[in-house]
Symmetry: C2
Subunit: 207 residues, 2 copies
DNA sequence: ATTTTGACCATTATATTTAAAAAGTCAAAA
DNA sequence: TTTTGACTTTTTAAATATAATGGTCAAAAT
């Protein structure tokens, strides 16, 4: 790492803490600077603007998540077991970084929303790629029947996302959700995964 | 029907049109009155307040929907075929009454939101009951294996709702969604239903 | 040469006030 | 019994003022 790379990392970590606790929009550049006892102007020596800092923070998280996913992918276990481990990683992630995640969608004229949305799309694509590989593996080992892996990966991801959205919208109407919601989401996703995957073990009957 | 029942029905129909086109909050009692050429005060002779009118309108829709569902339920066809017909009814409904449906969730101090939310919960319960009967029928005819029908019905409903939420949130970021979204939701729900139901045709393997 | 900073500006968000609109009432008319 | 115009009260929306935040820069510190 470059000499000033260590400092950039320091800033990113401080920003991450704030973003995860209070959300992106409720975190000011001054606050991040105060946390690590430097001036706000100094932050702008390392990052051209707030949007770039946010992006760096998220890239950091994506890299971390991808590593965790790949570790599981390279192990030898059933597809369902793999999926459930993925779900656990996701659960832990959202428990920690839920506010960072949702505030990513809040329009904020201080931020370049196009770039942020593009990054979120990128993260989703990466996750779906992991699912794609997982299902592919299941087909190759004859654990699953043959099917259109691309469509099914996207479908499965949509179901996971949908379960989370439904749970959050019904349990806690706006405001910050309680911790129990994430457990509930996790449990529901496991049930859905079990049935969904069972449907991929046998050839589809069309009517 | 009572003598003034016909007039109440007339008001309800006029209100339904406005609610579905412009949403509940953007529809005023005066506008509904104008549409049927009566005074606003006359509306209040038949309905004590706006909330009650909204509730009557929705109850009207629920009754209509339940009738359509029950007609299908009493026919003889495969479970998947039944589910797909249900989905078609839902698609047509949301295409027509989408704004009415979402504005039901918007906080509006003119309305008693507790009552409205209770009614929406009631409608969901009724829908899940239909799904419950459908799956039960599938088990009884040995088309499906045995499972906890209550959990599975709720799970399936959550998946349908989740797919809709995900599609609407990604395609059209706020504002009114285009008609194509409802087709997309319908197609995705059919795919998910096919796989999900296939998973209920065979005993679950736990790992 | 590189890093850091306080003072500064322009833009954006928030709080407050003001005006318009809508819900709901009622005595009187049909 | 049903209908209504005129009225009151509450709520929303628009306008305005105020505070906060993102971002800049010349100068100081390392």
């Amino acid at each position: 790492m470059e000499p000033n790379g260590i400092k950039k990392q320091h800033i990113i970590e401080a920003a991450l803490k704030r973003f995860s606790h209070f959300g992106i929009n409720k975190t000011t550049m001054s606050e991040i600077a105060e946390d690590i006892a430097v001036s706000k102007a100094n932050l702008y020596y390392y990052f051209p603007d707030k949007t770039t800092l946010v992006i760096e923070v998220i890239k950091h998280l994506i890299a971390e998540g991808m590593q965790a996913y790949n570790e599981i992918l390279n192990q030898s276990m059933s597809v369902l077991e793999m999926l459930i481990r993925f779900l656990k990683i996701r659960k832990d992630f959202f428990e920690k970084h839920y506010l960072l995640h949702i505030t990513l969608g809040f329009a904020d004229s201080h931020l370049n929303m196009e770039e942020l949305e593009a990054l979120r799309d990128y993260a989703e694509t990466k996750e779906i790629e992991i699912l794609h590989k997982t299902f592919k593996k299941g087909i190759d080992t004859l654990e699953l029947v043959t099917f259109d892996v691309k469509i099914v990966s996207q479908m499965y991801f949509t179901i996971l996302k949908g379960i989370a959205m439904v749970s959050i919208s019904t349990i806690s109407n706006k405001d910050i959700p309680e911790i129990s919601v994430f457990n509930e989401i996790f449990e529901k996703q496991k049930i859905a995964s079990t049935i969904f995957l069972n449907g991929l073990r046998h050839n589809l009957i069309k009517n």
